[in-house]
């Protein structure tokens, strides 16, 4: 990493704090979040076909509000189009 491409320390401080604060505030560990994701996939799969590999789940913050955000692509949609 040379002088010009080195990421300045304030940026890494902010990125690291963003993650730490989300977990501090929710008291939810990354492992628990992964377990939640698996349960969510199981529950949704009972009703609709999804691609478990493509599911993304994460915590986002806006001011002092926390939000659980999931992106769950449906498998059936593309098949209908193709068929």
């Amino acid at each position: 990493m040379n002088f010009f491409t080195r990421k300045k320390s304030a940026s890494s401080a902010k990125e690291r704090l963003q993650l730490v604060l989300v977990h501090d505030r929710t008291d939810l560990t990354p492992a628990q979040l992964e377990a939640l994701k698996d349960d969510l996939i199981k529950a949704i799969s009972n009703y609709i076909e999804i691609d478990p590999e493509a599911v993304q789940i994460g915590l986002e913050r806006d001011g002092r509000e926390q939000r659980l955000v999931a992106d769950i692509p449906l498998r059936s949609v593309s098949r209908h189009r193709a068929g």
């Binding site: 300045k8 304030a10 704090l17 505030r25």
Partner: protein, 265 residues
């Protein structure tokens, strides 16, 4: 007259709580307000030395609570401002000698005769902190633009919200403008974005703060100090005045960002 009770806290130690209390009290006294400071750090008292009143202590807050003296006897009058007082912490006792209801009672006794009661909270989130916030009408959280201080401040803000103490106001202390310019220190904008609370002041890093503490004469009394000016401005905001934030010569767009952030609930 009924005083507003303001508690200054931080979670992390060493971020400048005691310095902030001494400076805000002096600045309010300079504006002609009647101010009573309470050192809430039982066993580790320091507000007395920072205010230069350590040689005048006879009684402390635990003596009041345990009935060894009257409240008035434990109030040490300041050397320069006759309407400013300090109620010192006990040095040889621990935080369990005081309860939240003791603090509420003492503040209620003081309220009719003062404009502001400023409580210096100990570091941490234990009993001493609970005591310090028990009577607060308003809480100020002091932090530094640094990862551990911001993280601890966030914990404290979370606890204050859970305790329904309302959203506290933030003092960002020891901001180094040239480090921020080099992107090697979190900017005020970054800290506000992370914590999501309202700003009440940004205090620049300033050597004269230590010089003031050495002398027991808080930096607000130094007319040339930038940190002193920042504290005087915070004192004006506590009195409800709309004072613009200092231009600390940081990245462009900071001013607008602060306004956006502070305008948001």
């Amino acid at each position: 007259m009924t005083a507003q009770v303001i508690t200054v806290t931080s979670g992390k130690g060493g971020v400048g709580k005691t310095t902030a209390v001494a400076n805000l009290a002096n600045a309010l006294a300079m504006d002609g307000k009647k101010v009573v400071c309470i050192d809430g750090d039982i066993g580790l008292r320091n507000l007395d030395v920072v205010m230069g009143l350590e040689n005048r202590i006879v009684y402390d807050i635990v003596d009041v609570i345990e009935g060894r003296c009257k409240l008035k006897q434990a109030m040490i009058r300041d050397k320069h401002y006759p309407d400013m007082y300090l109620i010192p912490a006990a040095q040889t006792r621990d935080k369990n000698a005081v309860s939240p209801s003791d603090m509420v009672r003492i503040c209620n006794d003081l309220r009719p005769d003062a404009d502001f009661i400023i409580i210096d909270s100990p570091a941490g989130i234990e009993r001493g902190f609970r005591n310090a916030i028990a009577a607060a009408d308003r809480v100020l959280v002091v932090t530094n633009p640094e990862v551990s201080a911001v993280r601890d401040a966030d914990r404290v803000v979370g606890i204050l919200e859970a305790e329904e103490k309302g959203t506290p106001h933030l003092i960002i202390n020891r901001l180094n403008a040239s480090l921020v310019r080099n992107n090697d220190m979190l900017s005020a904008e970054d800290v506000l974005d992370l914590l999501g609370i309202q700003l009440i002041g940004i205090v620049p890093e300033d050597e004269s703060v230590i010089i003031g503490s050495n002398r027991g004469a808080p930096v607000v009394t130094d007319g040339k100090s930038r940190a002193g000016l920042a504290f005087r401005n915070i004192a004006k905001r506590l009195q409800g005045q709309d004072v613009p934030f200092l231009d600390l010569d940081q990245q462009s767009g900071l001013w607008g960002a602060i306004q956006r952030l502070t305008g948001r609930k």
